[in-house]
């Protein structure tokens, strides 16, 4: 049976890979910031420490998305 192309897409598959790579860090940073906002509302007096911990956590999570950029540039 001969195959028929119903849909065709051209371009670089790495763009889709990067889209997928942002999903996890996006959700992760969302949870991080949301929980920090929640904690600050409960206990405003420790907001400076919470903010610092949030920035540190974001830095660790964000690396995954940035690895997506770097991998896309290196492997293509």
């Amino acid at each position: 049976m001969d195959t028929t192309n119903i849909a065709e897409m051209s371009g670089n598959i790495a763009t889709i890979g990067y889209g997928l790579a942002t999903l996890g860090p996006g959700i992760g940073i969302g949870i991080l910031v949301g929980k920090t906002a929640e904690s600050t509302a409960r206990q405003p007096e420790v907001s400076a420490t919470l903010f610092r911990n949030m920035i540190l956590g974001i830095a660790f999570v964000e690396v995954l998305a940035l690895l997506g950029i770097v991998a896309g540039l290196i492997l293509t």
Binding site: M1, T4, I6, A48, R52, I55, L56, A59, F60, E62, V63, L66, L67, I69, V70, L73
Partner: protein, 289 residues
């Protein structure tokens, strides 16, 4: 059944082909076929040499930007320090706010007053240097972050790497520091089978690698974003015809907004870099518990 669907698709294909032709003559077809629009590529970060072409002292645009940023940084601090007064005036007050911020919010907060004193100069230098090298990405006529190419962040991260390993070895001695970082106390012995390789990778490879990549990739992405916005604006204003030109206003606004955002990112990345360095130093200096 499948063949029927396929036949049906083939039957309508002349029409859909015609539709596709129309689309390629539309806006996007014009945009990518006109040759006027050059989307930014990785070549953006490998500009041609400007001075001393062909020698080992070859200077390209990014290297020149680095030198300019370093000279401006040193000049600002030299001028402010030579005119330092007890009651600060406006320029001095601004510099003092920055220095005070690093000392109180970062160094003493993470390392404590006593240990913080030893690493204050190192971490402050790191912060202002990284900020100045980052912010050249939005300075007109420089237009590229000095940290957007991996060399400079690599040197910075190597400096931090040597400093925290040195701090750990200096305080605990080589073997004890190795044991403390590879065999964290308070876990059952069989957990070391999994934990020790992870900790080894973490301390000796992942920490400096992520410090480097975080800074480089952030600055690189920011630069590509700005180039995309302004290249698009140029094409829409000067090459497009009719009502499409109005879209250029949108991309120009986006470019300006992202420029402001890049200033914020430059500050944030400098802060994160210094904060993580302080945390790594603190982990190296921590006592066994």
């Amino acid at each position: 059944m499948f063949r029927l669907v396929a036949t049906a698709l083939t039957a309508v294909s002349p029409e859909s082909d015609h539709g596709a032709d129309d689309a390629s003559e539309g806006f996007f077809g014009w945009l990518f076929s006109s040759g006027a629009f050059h989307p930014p590529t990785i070549q953006e970060f490998y500009p041609d040499a400007v001075f001393f072409d062909g020698t080992i002292f070859e200077v390209n645009r990014i290297m020149a930007v680095r030198v300019i940023a370093a000279i401006v940084l040193v000049a600002i601090f030299a001028v402010v320090a030579s005119r330092a007064r007890v009651v600060p005036r406006r320029g001095q007050a601004l510099v003092e706010i920055v220095l005070d911020f690093i000392r109180v919010q970062v160094v003493e907060e993470v390392l404590g007053k006593k240990e913080g004193q030893r690493y204050l100069a190192f971490l402050t230098t790191l912060f202002v240097a990284i900020f100045f090298f980052n912010v050249t990405g939005v300075v007109p006529f420089l237009n590229i972050s000095a940290t957007a190419l991996i060399g400079l962040p690599l040197v910075m991260a190597a400096w931090v790497y040597v400093m925290y390993l040195g701090a750990g070895v200096g305080k605990h001695g080589f073997w004890r520091y190795l044991r403390m970082s590879l065999f964290p106390s308070g876990v059952p012995w069989w957990a070391y089978i999994i934990l020790t390789p992870i900790e080894f990778l973490q301390v000796f490879l992942i920490r400096p690698a992520t410090l480097t990549l975080r800074l480089t990739a952030n600055m690189m992405a920011g630069h590509l974003l700005l180039v995309l916005c302004f290249a698009g604006t140029h094409v829409l204003f000067f090459e497009a015809t009719g009502a499409v030109r109005a879209v250029g206003a949108l991309s120009l606004t986006a470019g300006l907004v992202f420029s402001l955002f890049e200033i914020f990112v430059a500050l944030l990345q400098a802060y994160i870099f210094v904060m993580l360095s302080a945390v790594y130093l603190n982990l190296a200096l921590a006592d066994e518990h």
